[in-house]
């Protein structure tokens, strides 16, 4: 390694010219490269900073030397240290006459300074000068700096010059000028709003590079105001067509694709323009269809363009043919072995299901695979998809999954996001109140203080107001179940503050409402809370108020109040608290306890948190008192607005404010009149070319709502509170639900395994209880199918079955009940117990032989595991077989320092890999699905046979089953 470094250094010195770097600098880089720890690196850098501080302040440093110092400063700052002492020298360097030095100066300032830095004002003048330079390279360097450094305040100083540069003979300058204007637009849209015509003009620049760059600002402009750019649809379409037909110079080809980056930008713009606009969209159909056909799906860039096509198709007015192509592309992505493509596939699926929800059907297993993938990125993307397709039928499964995942991660940012999504879904689709409260409890418990306080307030309101308009018993049941669950949760060690506040409030309001718990029990709990979280003022305040409520209700009910000793000591503590809020609450409590029942009842009516409190804002009850006072000679009250002195003061303040806001920096010389700025700008009428019609205000076309089908049905469903299980099953193929028991099941089993090869081992690891949920399926991936069914709406199947009267239906309907019970219960442990009773059915059907060898007394969980294990092995071997050419592995093993030139070759072979696999995957799924089709009927027939013979499937009689099931 040491040798390699020396060689490298010599190489660098030799080939790139030792002109730049002295030995000192090379030594610095070398010693940092060899530093063994961060501390050692820091020490070296700090030493370097000291040296540089000394050096840069020496007088008469030669330019060449100075340039090197500046580069060393850049290096130091890149390593995360502060080099601000040298900024001013970098700024000075931009003033230099030699381009060589100037360029380094500009590089350094763009790296050092953010747009709000004080030194920028010193550079503006230099930039202005350089923008006028004859040397286009100087202009380019200045424009680079403009893009980074010019802020809203300094835009007017350079704007006219940048606009002039749009007509510069050199395309590199025009391009950078366009980008600079784009940056100006981002910083302050109003500053360049009068220049929009320039962008339109540059769209037909002779140079494709300039045209490509112009697409950036146009994309931004179109996204803010679609309607003013509808006239450009034809131009964009024709440019895209020309690009796709390889009319651009060969130099813009990238991996055999014609200018893919420009294609992508254009597709993005078209997606915006065609959104909800049938007429505009119709212009695009042909060209987008062409690109779908021409795209080379074996290269990464081809897939990038394909993905953009899908985005475009799902955004514009729907066209069945294009949707079909998009669905094809998505299934290719999802079946690919590449995680990147799967990720894009999931994303694309999320876009397309808004328009055609049925396409998700064929990909359910792929989606489940992604959900269980060890790759977090993929998992999160899949959650995003699930979030988009949540309905009242699958909300329970999805939210449970989300919460499981939320518990497992540490990333606070994402935790907050997923928590708020859970809350949103639960609020929108909750099948029952109980379920809703449990979900909220879980969210609060695990995401804790990351949850917005408003969510807690909403939940309080919900508990107080209840769901039902009609029956009170349901509400009180809800409340007492909430109280139960909170008392249970209070036993846990660390509870987030927000959740504690909620708990205290609910306990205070409803703790004793149903008579189940005594006042002393609840107050004991509350004072425990206040004591345990004694450094949280808000929680203590909530607790005190809750105590007051409990005591008040007791007094109002005519019972004698005995304050617990711990409460008493707590009160004494609070009465002397430093927090005035706590103190006041404590005094209030003391006062309330001393009152009689009648008074307390009117102060603290029971369960009146939703009642409106009437407030007499005019304070009319004081009228008599005022009258008396005035009669006694007091001054009448004068409203603020009528008081004389006040008026002037507020006026004065206004003026002052006005003056301040108009104050700003001036960059123009004073004698120049303001109009010159405007006169320089070309008038709006511009030479129109073949592409761009002269921009005229277009009549706003009839626009269609962008969200086409999203949730008409789900909205309807959400109004009902009960879980609705019918009416959705038709969406998802019935084959997924058929309990395949015949011989053909073995083939289907294998092929299905082939699909999920990648995460075979993972599935068995993630033994969440949902995995075991699928007791009536025996196929190896049955748990997945079950999950798929419950996610994608097939869960209704289970409820339909009882009607058929087959034996098999019994356990399933039983299960449905069970799952209801389970979900409403608090502990997962009890769920597992419930599941444990079921496995015999499951085992019987799938692999009778396995069952026969196991005595029924064996722990059913073990049996399940035994069943699952072979799966993993099967899966992993399949994975090993198909993935044997491990190109990724090869690629990463390329030794450090020796960068291989044939990078692109490796890449292309990499991207070819998925294609072959994709084909294999495609065929295998087809086999799987076709073989599954008839099974259901078969199995049902067999079931009925079994029933006729009076044998329950769960009886451990293997021989009988052998006969029956062949």
């Amino acid at each position: 390694m040491e040798q390699l470094k020396t060689i490298g250094r010599e190489l660098a010195m030799g080939s790139q010219g030792g002109f730049y770097q002295s030995k000192e600098f090379l030594d610095l880089v070398k010693s940092i490269g060899e530093a063994r720890s961060k501390a050692e690196e820091d020490r070296i850098v700090l030493g370097e900073i000291e040296t540089l501080k000394r050096r840069v302040s020496e007088p008469d440093i030669p330019k060449r030397k100075m340039k090197e110092y500046i580069l060393r400063l850049v290096y130091v700052e890149m390593l995360g240290h502060d080099a601000s002492f040298g900024y001013i020298h970098a700024v000075k360097m931009t003033h230099d006459d030699s381009l060589l030095v100037k360029r380094t100066g500009y590089l350094a300032v763009t790296l050092f300074l953010n747009e709000d830095h004080d030194l920028i004002i010193l550079i503006v003048n230099t930039i202005q000068k350089d923008l006028k330079s004859d040397n286009y390279l100087v202009v380019c360097a200045a424009l680079n700096a403009v893009c980074k450094l010019i802020n809203e305040e300094t835009i007017p100083a350079v704007l006219p010059q940048v606009v002039d540069l749009l007509a510069h003979p050199k395309e590199a300058v025009r391009k950078k000028a366009i980008m600079a204007l784009h940056r100006f637009y981002q910083k302050s849209p109003s500053s360049v709003s009068h220049l929009v015509s320039n962008f339109r003009k540059r769209l037909c620049d002779n140079d494709p590079g300039v045209m490509g760059a112009t697409l950036c600002p146009l994309f931004e402009l179109v996204s803010t105001d679609v309607n003013s750019y509808k006239d450009l649809v034809i131009s964009f379409v024709s440019i895209l067509k020309q690009v796709a037909e390889r009319r651009l110079p060969k130099a813009y080809d990238y991996h055999q694709m014609p200018a893919p980056f420009i294609q992508i930008k254009l597709l993005k713009i078209l997606a915006l323009l065609g959104s909800g606009d049938k007429q505009a969209s119709e212009n695009m159909y042909t060209v987008v269809g062409d690109i779908f056909r021409k795209c080379d799906s074996s290269s990464n860039i081809g897939n990038a363009v394909l993905y953009e096509c899908i985005c475009c198709v799902s955004s514009i007015y729907p066209n069945p043919k294009l949707l079909e192509s998009a669905a094809d592309a998505i299934s290719r992505f999802l079946k690919s072995d590449s995680h990147n493509l799967k990720y894009m596939g999931i994303d694309a699926l999320g876009r397309l299901i808004k328009i055609s929800p049925e396409i998700a059907e064929q990909h359910q297993l792929a989606v489940i695979d992604c959900l269980e993938d060890p790759d977090d990125t993929l998992k999160r993307k899949t959650f995003e998809l699930l979030y988009k397709m949540t309905k009242s039928t699958n909300v329970e499964v999805i939210v449970d999954r989300m919460i499981d995942y939320m518990i497992s991660i540490n990333d606070n940012h994402y935790k907050t996001e997923i928590a708020s999504r859970c809350v949103e879904l639960a609020e929108q689709f909750a099948p029952s109140n109980q379920w809703f409260i449990q979900i909220m409890n879980k969210v609060f418990e695990h995401a804790g203080d990351l949850v917005n306080i408003k969510v807690a307030h909403n939940l309080m309101r919900l508990i107080a107001e209840g769901f039902g308009e009609d029956d009170d018993s349901a509400d009180s049941q809800l409340r007492s179940s909430a109280v139960d669950s909170y008392l249970h949760i209070l036993g846990e060690p660390k509870i987030p503050s927000v959740f504690l506040q909620l708990i205290c409030w609910v306990l205070g309001e409803y703790g004793t409402a149903d008579g189940k718990y005594s006042a002393s029990y609840i107050t004991g709990k509350l004072s425990d809370v206040a004591e345990a979280y004694s450094n949280d003022e808000t929680v203590k305040a909530y607790a005190v108020t809750a105590l007051m409520k409990i005591y008040a209700f007791e007094i109002a009910a005519g019972r004698k109040v005995d304050m617990l000793p711990e409460c008493q000591s707590l009160m004494e503590q609070f009465l002397a608290s430093h927090s005035t809020d706590l103190q006041q609450r404590a005094y209030e409590l003391q006062a309330v306890i001393g009152l009689d029942a009648h008074a307390v009842e009117s102060i603290m009516p029971s369960d009146a948190s939703c009642e409106d409190i009437e407030v007499d804002k005019a304070l009319s009850f004081l009228n008599g008192y005022i009258q008396d006072s005035i009669e006694k000679g007091a001054q009448p009250y004068i409203p603020e607005s009528e008081r004389s002195g006040m008026l002037n003061i507020s006026n004065f303040r206004n003026q002052d404010h006005h003056g301040a806001s108009s104050h700003g920096l001036k960059f123009e010389a004073y004698e120049l009149p303001k109009q010159t700025v405007q006169s320089r700008i070309p008038p709006a009428t511009l030479a129109s070319t073949e592409f761009v019609p002269v921009p005229e205000p277009m009549s706003v076309r009839e626009s269609y709502p962008t969200t086409i089908v999203p949730s008409a049905s789900s909205d309807a469903e959400s109004t009902e509170l009960k879980l609705r299980l019918d009416g959705v099953q038709k969406k998802w193929g019935r084959q997924t639900h058929s309990p395949a028991t015949s011989t053909s099941s073995s083939t289907s089993k294998k092929t299905v395994n082939g699909i999920k090869q990648v995460d075979g081992s993972n599935t068995s690891n993630s033994s969440t209880w949902e995995t075991y949920d699928s007791r009536k399926h025996v196929e190896i991936n049955s748990e997945k199918q079950k999950l798929a069914a419950s996610l994608f709406g097939g869960s209704s199947k289970t409820e339909k079955k009882p009607a058929t009267g087959h034996k098999i239906s019994k356990p399933s309907s039983h299960m449905v009940e069970k799952s209801h019970v389970r979900k409403s219960s608090m502990e997962i442990a009890s769920e597992k117990k419930a599941l444990v009773h079921q496995p015999p059915d499951l085992l019987d059907f799938g692999e009778p032989t396995v069952q026969s060898s196991d005595p029924p007394s064996v722990d059913p969980f073990k049996e399940l595991e035994g069943l699952l294990e072979p799966t993993t092995q099967l899966g992993s071997t399949a994975a090993a077989a198909t993935n044997s050419p491990d190109i990724m592995g090869l690629f990463t093993e390329t030794p450090g320092g020796t960068h291989n030139k044939d990078d692109s070759d490796i890449l292309s072979s990499l991207s070819k890999q998925p294609v072959t696999n994709m084909v294999g995957g495609a065929t295998s799924t087809q086999v799987a699905q076709s073989s599954k089709g008839p099974n259901r009927k078969d199995s049902l027939e067999k079931d009925s046979l079994v029933r006729q013979m009076g044998v329950t499937p769960s009886s451990p009689n293997p021989n009988l089953f052998k006969d029956l099931l062949g």
Partner: protein, 161 residues
């Protein structure tokens, strides 16, 4: 829009940073630390994308160097992956089989090339030749300056003899 570009070695050493969105020096250090922890630990077969503070980071490993770009959520990740590759190809062409050492010792050149490729967080030029032409135009200027400098110093040297 691209918010920043990072080049990090496998050992977590920073090789190049370019910030298109405003980040203070403190934030920059934090970002680099967070991201190197996130990216360097990822397995080889996983996605080349990472979700991070509501943004996406697209990364790709070339030999011992990780090229990372941070983008908005609705950008096309595959495209960014190709922009990274595009940059690597341009570097490769410029340095002639580029390796990490080239970038360590000539980081300023890597910056100059990046400036021709990306501007204000957007891809400004997708033609490799155009980029190469501009960079070499600037370099030739450097060459002439060098010659001038040496000739001047020769003259001075002769004059003072």
């Amino acid at each position: 829009m691209i918010h920043f570009v990072l080049l990090i070695s496998r050992q977590g050493k920073v090789r190049l940073t370019k910030w298109y969105s405003p980040y203070s020096q403190k934030e920059r250090t934090k970002v680099i630390r967070e991201l190197s922890g996130l990216i360097l630990t990822r397995g080889p077969k996983l996605c080349n994308f990472v979700e991070w503070r509501g943004l996406r980071v697209v990364y790709k490993r070339y030999a011992s160097l990780y090229f990372c770009m941070c983008i908005d959520e609705d950008d096309n990740e595959l495209e960014i992956l190709e922009i990274i590759h595009h940059y690597v190809e341009v570097l490769d062409r410029y340095f002639g089989s580029v390796c990490e050492l080239d970038l360590i010792y000539n980081f300023h050149k890597a910056y100059f090339i990046l400036d021709e490729l990306l501007l204000a967080g957007e891809l400004q030029e997708s033609g490799k030749k155009t980029v190469a032409r501009l960079v070499s135009a600037q370099d030739s200027l450097v060459e002439t300056a060098k010659e001038q400098a040496s000739s001047i110093s020769n003259i001075i040297a002769q004059a003072t003899k």
